[in-house]
């Protein structure tokens, strides 16, 4: 299964980026093989608005089935849900540690956004 993790760097030892829409990188980790690819999010990082929505769309297009991150706002949440991606906020530590937390069942899927939007 493919899991997207928001990261501050391009490798598994980078810290999890607590921001979803304006994360520096998405690391797409294949949890079966342990292999991963890094995808920079610079376009959304610098977006004036709509970063969460567009980041969510990018994650869906990457084929991720779950997202591990710090915080997810309402618009990103709606978009990820429409793309049938499970959302696990409150991930912390390195990307590697976050994947382990998720694998061992220590991250809970979110039923709604865990932070407010920036426009309302």
């Amino acid at each position: 299964m493919k899991v997207a993790v928001t990261a501050q760097g391009a490798d598994l030892d980078s810290p999890v980026d607590p921001r979803f829409g304006r994360a520096k990188y998405f690391l797409l980790v294949d949890t079966d093989s342990g292999e991963f690819t890094a995808h920079d999010n610079v376009q959304n990082l610098n977006a004036l608005q709509g970063a969460g929505i567009q980041a969510a769309q990018a994650v869906v297009n990457l084929g991720a089935q779950a997202v591990l991150t710090g915080n997810v706002g309402p618009k990103a949440f709606t978009t990820l849900q429409a793309g049938q991606v499970a959302i696990y906020p409150h991930a912390s530590g390195t990307v590697r540690q976050a994947v382990e937390q998720w694998r061992s069942g220590n991250l809970q899927p979110a039923a709604k956004a865990n932070v407010e939007g920036h426009w309302s």
Partner: protein
């Protein structure tokens, strides 16, 4: 002639000066309109106490997707520079609060699956205050984007000799929308570091828009002299210096038009009005 009253900093006296200018000019026998473009917080009505004759909803156009025609090709999402559209799986999601009503998504949709529908974002209020024509826009609470409401206010302006546009503070989109097309821009500031900092931003904006502009210094006998030094260095005309006077604050707090209550300020504003209309140097 259209005169816009703006400032970088809030609370410098835009509305005090705008309502005074409009009221003075209208009582002089010209046809005058006052437009409150500060649609997020319109307060000119507190002083002008207009009789509202007509109210109309203000709408903005937002796209709606026909799910039967949409093939989720994603072209609309790529075209939207405001990030307001997401195509994920078999769904095309539109986040209307981010939409700037540009219509780009309609243009690029190969299926013609997108149409625009009006969404109410505020209220237009049109009336009179004595001989003065009055228009204000009131943006709905929670609505993020004010330029369409400001546009509606300007569209509703009657055809008159003199239009006074009371603008929102700042130098971003709402202010640009308000001042665009004016013949003369008055930047109201105060002699404080904050006033000067924001005046500089407003001057940059006025220059970028190639507008004829001048400065009014409010509470001119307080603070420091940096605003004057800056204007001298930049060759910017100071068109009025309005003294700080407790009587102004008292009149303001009672909701009175300052030129009605404080004669020495009335003199100042009258001379400012003449300068603004005379086509004085830019």
């Amino acid at each position: 002639m259209k005169i816009a009253i703006a400032s970088g900093k809030g609370g410098t006296g835009k509305t005090t000066i705008a309502t005074s200018l409009a009221h003075l000019a209208a009582t002089d026998g010209r046809t005058v309109a006052y437009l409150d473009c500060d649609v997020e917080e319109p307060n000119g009505h507190l002083f002008l106490k207009p009789q509202i004759l007509r109210e109309e909803p203000i709408n903005k156009l937002i796209p709606v997707v026909d799910a039967d025609r949409c093939t989720h090709c994603g072209l609309c999402s790529q075209a939207c520079r405001f990030g307001a559209i997401a195509c994920v799986g078999q769904q095309t999601l539109i986040f209307t609060e981010l939409c700037h009503s540009c219509g780009g998504c309609l243009l690029v949709c190969p299926q013609e699956a997108i149409r625009e529908v009006p969404k109410p974002i505020g209220l237009l209020r049109i009336g009179t205050s004595g001989p003065l024509q009055f228009v204000e826009g009131v943006l709905n609470v929670g609505e993020a984007m004010s330029p369409p409401a400001i546009h509606a206010v300007k569209d509703a302006a009657p055809d008159v000799d003199l239009t006074i546009l009371d603008c929102p503070p700042g130098t971003s989109c709402p202010v640009i929308e308000s001042v665009r097309g004016c013949d003369h821009l008055l930047l109201v500031t105060e002699p404080t570091p904050f006033g000067l900092n924001d005046l500089k931003l407003a001057v940059e904006m006025a220059r970028a828009l190639k507008l004829r502009f001048g400065v009014a210094v409010n509470r001119a006998n307080t603070g420091d002299r940096e605003v004057w030094s800056y204007c001298r260095r930049q060759r910017i005309d100071i068109l009025a210096e309005i003294p700080d006077d407790r009587a102004v604050a008292e009149a303001y707090s009672r909701g009175e038009i300052v030129v009605e209550s404080v004669p020495q300020v009335a003199e100042c504003i009258r001379s400012l009005l003449e300068t603004l209309q005379s086509g004085a140097p830019a």
